[in-house]
Assembly symmetry: C2
C-alpha cells in the first residue's frame, strides 16, 4: 500500500491493527501517484484547500473536486490520485480494516495438511479477542486469488462490488427458499435470470441460481430427463440407457451428473474434437445414430462454451440442427465461456445460442463475482417446477403463487443468494461495461500471443478464440523436454511468483495462462513468461 | 444504537455515511449502560484517565482496564459497558461502517416482486458511487434474520465470528476443489469433519461440506446406493425399486433426492409417528418387510433429529437395531437437531447415533454460522471417493494423494468454504461454550413453556424435547377458531413486530416459536406472546 501521500507531509494521528487516521499537509500541485489501498476503504475529509480526486475504475475514470468541509471516499480496491489545487491544503484520512483481496503479495505454496493443522492450531480453542490475529496468520498461509499472478483456476481476483454484496448477504442472512423470507434477494435472482435470458435471446425463460457450474450441469441432465421421461420423477428410472453427448474436452461434471442421477457414467458419450478443440458435428450425428442402433436413448447434447484447457467454443448453431433433427435436448455449458455473450468481439462464438434448451453460466469465473455465483437457465418456463417441486414442505411454502417461492425450482431448501454479487457488479458496470472489460482482456490476449510467437523459446499451442493462452516453454537447449513446462510451473509456484496451471498434448506439458483478473495488465503477462524463461 | 455515552459529554468530530469519530469527556464513575453498536465495530483510544471496559459475549464477560494512550475495540455485535475510574477522562471513538446484522429494527413485510423490482430499479444501471446508497435502501426492504423476533425459519441471527470468517473467504476467494488451491481452508474443512465425527463417536470417518442440509440428504441416498449397488455409478439404475424410509414428519428433501437420483419419489416410504412426532420403530419394521414382499429393495432409513414442526428426535438406538437386522443404511438428518450432540441436557436424545452410517449436520441453523454451512458425515471412510470420483479432471487434479483434493469427494467443482464460519465460531466458543449456549436456550424454553401453560388463552401443543415451542393462540371468546393462530401470525408480520411461522394439527393452526437467535432472551418470547394475545 504505497502513495498515501505524494510529496506532502503525512502525520499518523493514530494507528492500530484496525484503523489508521492520518492528516496530510499539502502544497500547491502536489499529487499522489495513482494508487489503491488494497483491501482498505479510505475516507477523506478536506479540512483546508481545494482538491481534485480521480477515481480509476479500470474501465472508466471519474474526476471530482472537493473543498473544505467536504468528504469523499475511495471504494475498496479502486485506484485513485489526488491533487491539491490550492497553495496549501490539509486533509484527514481514515483507513478501515481491510475488507478486500490483497492484490500485491501472495503465497502460492503451502505445507501439507497435517503440518498446517498443527502450525495453525486448528483444533485448539482460541479466545474471541485473539481470533482476528489467528485469522490474519491463516490468511498469510492461504492461497488467494487476488493477485494477477494467480491463474491456476478459471477465475482470478474479483471486482470490489462483490464485497458490498457479501456484506449485504451476511447482514441479512436469509434464505432464497420463499419470497416472504427474501423478497429483495428473490427479486434480484429473478432479475439476473431475466437479463441473462435476454442476452441469450430467449422469449420464454426460467432459471435458478445453483451452487456452482457443476450443479448447473447436473440440473441440465435432470431437466432433459424430466422433459423426455416425466414419469421418472415419481416412478424412478426404468433401466433403459439414457445417453448424454459431450465433447472429449467437456467438463468432468457430466460424468458426475450421470453417476448421481442414476444414468451411469458409461452413458456419457465422448464426441471427438477438431484441431481447435471443438466437438465435430458430423461425429456427433454418427454417435447419436449408433446409440439409437444399440436401442439406447439419446437424452441430451451438451455443447461447451470455453473448454477448460483451450477455451474452445463448440459450434452451437450446427449442433442445434443435429439436436433438432434427432429431437434431443441441447444444453450449453458456458461456465467459463458464457460471458462471451456480453462482448462485441466474442459474440459471434455464441451464434445460434438461442436454439439451445438450457445453459450453465458462472459469474464467479470471468466476471469477478464471489465464488460461487452460478446459474442454470432454460427456455422452458415450466420445466424446473415440473422437475423439482414435490408439492411438499407445507411447513415452509405458504404462498399461493408458486412462481414467487423460488425454492420450489431448486434442489436446495436453505439457499444463499448466489445472484447478489453478480447483480451488484452488473448493476454498476452495465452490460456495456462488462463487454468493455472482456474486450480489454481480448486486447491483452492479442498482445501476449504476438509476443509469444516472436519468442524462440516459447511455443503457442493454438491461436485462442477465448481467454486461455496455452504456451509451451522450451528448455534452454531448444529441446522439447515433454515435462519442462510442468517443472517450470512447480518452480514458479515454489518461489511464490506465479500460480499457473498446466496441461499436456502429445508433445508434452504446457502452461495455461488464464486472462481473467480485473487488475491484469500486459506487464504481468510478460513478467510471468520472463520468469518462466529464466528457469534453466 | 444507544448508550454511546452515559451521563458524559459527547462531541461528534465528524460523521458520515461511512464513519463516525466521537470524543467523549467523562466524569468520575460515569458509566455507559450495557450496549452494543449493532453492525459497527467500535475502536476506542484513551486520551486521558483510566477506564474499565466489560465485554459481554453472551456466555461470558471479560473485564479489562485501560490507561491513557491505550486502545481497545468492541467486536461487532458484542455488548459492552465502560466506566471512567479517574476523576475525569477523555476518549476518542471511531465507529466503522456496519458490518453485521442489525438486531433492533427490522422489516418483516414486503411488496410483491414486480413492485419491488420497479421501486428499487433493479434493472437500471447505477454508478459505482451510488451503489452503497442503493444497497442501503435494499437492505431496508429486505427481511433480515438478525432480530430475536425473526423465527420464521429454523435459524435466526448469527454469531459475530461468522463475519470474520466471511471476510476471510471473500479476501482469499478460492475453491475447495484441490489442496494446492486452498490448503488452509481444506485443512479447516477436514478439521470440522474430524471433530464432528468425534462428537458422534465414530472411529473411522469421512465427510464433505455441501451447500445445505438438503444436499447432505441427497448425498446420503447416493452413498447408500453406492454401498449396495456400486455398479450403478458406471451402468446406471437397472429399473428395480429402491426404497427410502423416513418418518411422516421428515424433511421434503428426501422426495427431491429420490426424484433427482432416479429412484422416484414414490419410493420414499412414509413411516407413521407417535404422539411426540417420532418414527414408530415397529411400523418401520413392518414397512420394510412389506416392501421386501413386493420385491422392492429397502435401501436406506433416515432418522430425523429435530423435525421441522415439533422438533422431534427419532429414536436412533431402536432404529439402528432394525437397520442392522435388515442390513439397511441408516442415515440421520440432523440439519436442525444435530447440535444436540454438543449439549449435556440434550445428548441423551442422540443415544445410539454412533450406529448410524451417515449424518446431515447444519451449522447455519442453531449454531449461527453463515447460510449455508452444512456437512455430510459418514463412518465409511472410502464411500465418498467411491461414489463421486470420476477419475477425470486431469486439468485440475494433479495431486498424488486423492485424500487431499477434497473436490473428488464432492458433486461440486468450484466450491465455497462452507466450513469456515462454523469453524470460527466453534474455535472461539469451544465445544463446551456451544453446549452452554444450547443449554441456555433450553432454560429459556422451560421458562416460556411454563408461562404458556399458566395462560388461559394459550395452548401448548406438546412438551418440546428440543427448541421448537408450538403454541396455539385462542381467540378472545375462548373458542378454538382453527385459523386464529395463522391470522395472528399474518397480523404480527404486517405490523413488522414478529416473523414467526405456523403449522397445523387436527385442531387447526398454531404458532411455531424457534429458539435459536444468540441474542434471544425471555422478554422477547414473552413479548411475542403478549403481542399475539393483543390481537382480537
Amino acid at each position: 500500500m504505497n502513495g498515501k501521500a505524494g510529496s506532502s507531509e503525512r502525520n499518523v494521528l493514530f494507528e492500530s491493527r484496525l484503523f489508521e487516521v492520518v492528516s496530510i499537509l499539502w502544497t500547491n500541485k502536489s499529487t499522489t501517484p495513482l494508487h489503491d489501498h488494497g483491501g482498505s476503504q479510505c475516507f477523506v475529509l478536506v479540512l483546508e484547500g481545494k482538491f481534485e480526486n480521480v477515481l480509476d475504475f479500470g474501465n472508466k475514470r471519474e474526476v471530482s473536486t472537493f473543498e473544505s468541509g467536504q468528504t469523499f471516499s475511495i471504494p475498496v480496491g479502486t485506484k485513485h490520485e489526488t491533487q491539491c489545487l490550492t497553495l496549501t491544503g490539509k486533509t484527514l484520512h481514515v483507513y478501515t480494516p481491510k475488507l478486500a483481496q490483497e492484490t500485491v503479495k501472495l503465497k502460492f505454496n503451502s505445507e501439507n495438511s497435517e503440518e498446517l493443522k498443527n502450525k495453525l492450531h486448528l483444533s485448539q480453542a482460541t479466545p474471541f479477542e485473539e481470533l482476528k490475529d489467528l485469522l490474519d496468520v491463516m490468511k498469510k498461509e492461504s492461497i488467494s486469488s487476488g493477485s494477477p499472478y494467480f491463474m491456476n483456476q478459471l477465475f482470478s481476483g474479483s471486482f470490489p462490488q462483490m464485497l458490498m454484496a457479501e456484506e449485504f448477504i451476511a447482514a441479512t442472512k436469509t434464505t432464497l427458499a420463499t419470497f416472504e423470507a427474501s423478497p429483495v434477494l428473490s427479486a434480484v435472482e429473478n432479475e439476473v435470470i431475466e437479463e441473462l435470458s435476454c442476452l441469450i435471446g430467449w422469449e420464454k425463460r426460467s432459471g435458478i441460481a445453483v451452487p456452482g457450474g457443476s450443479a448447473a450441469n447436473f440440473m441440465a441432465v435432470h431437466c432433459a430427463r424430466q422433459n423426455l421421461f416425466p414419469k421418472t420423477k415419481r416412478e424412478g428410472l426404468d433401466g433403459r440407457n439414457l445417453c448424454v453427448f459431450v465433447s472429449a474436452e467437456a467438463h468432468y461434471s457430466f460424468k458426475k451428473a450421470c453417476a448421481v442421477l442414476g444414468l451411469g457414467m458409461d452413458n456419457v458419450i465422448s464426441v471427438p474434437v477438431d484441431h481447435k478443440g471443438r466437438m465435430k458435428p458430423e461425429a456427433l450425428d454418427g454417435l447419436i445414430q449408433k446409440v439409437r442402433d444399440q436401442s439406447k436413448v439419446p437424452l441430451m447434447v451438451s455443447a461447451t462454451f470455453g473448454t477448460t484447457v483451450l477455451g474452445a467454443f463448440d459450434q452451437v448453431d450446427e449442433l442445434s440442427r443435429i439436436c433438432k433433427k434427432h429431437k434431443i435436448w441441447l444444453h450449453v455449458d458456458g461456465a467459463w465461456g458464457g460471458p462471451a455473450l456480453f462482448s462485441k468481439k466474442l459474440r459471434h462464438l455464441a451464434c445460434g445460442i438461442e436454439n439451445a434448451d438450457s445453459m450453465t453460466f458462472d459469474a464467479h469465473k470471468l466476471l469477478g463475482a464471489n465464488l460461487t455465483s452460478s446459474f442454470f437457465l432454460t427456455k422452458h418456463p415450466q420445466i424446473l417446477l415440473e422437475a423439482n417441486d414435490v408439492a411438499d414442505g407445507d411447513y415452509l411454502f405458504h404462498s399461493d403463487d408458486p412462481a414467487l417461492d423460488r425454492g420450489k425450482l431448486s434442489w436446495q431448501c436453505g439457499r444463499k443468494a448466489e445472484a447478489m454479487s453478480f447483480w451488484t457488479i452488473w448493476k454498476s458496470m452495465g452490460t456495456e461495461g462488462i463487454g468493455e472489460f472482456i474486450d480489454g482482456l481480448i486486447g491483452l490476449r492479442d498482445e501476449i500471443t504476438a509476443w509469444i510467437k516472436m519468442h524462440p523459446r516459447l511455443e503457442l499451442i493454438h491461436m485462442p478464440d477465448y481467454l486461455n493462452v496455452c504456451v509451451r516453454v522450451l528448455s534452454l537447449d531448444g529441446a522439447k523436454d515433454p515435462e519442462w513446462s510442468k517443472i517450470v510451473r512447480e518452480r514458479l509456484k515454489e518461489k511464490n511468483l506465479v500460480f499457473v496451471n498446466y496441461s499436456s498434448d502429445t508433445n508434452g506439458t504446457f502452461l495455461r495462462l488464464i486472462l481473467a483478473n480485473p487488475f491484469l495488465n500486459f506487464s504481468h503477462l510478460e513478467q510471468i513468461l520472463r520468469w518462466a524463461l529464466e528457469e534453466t
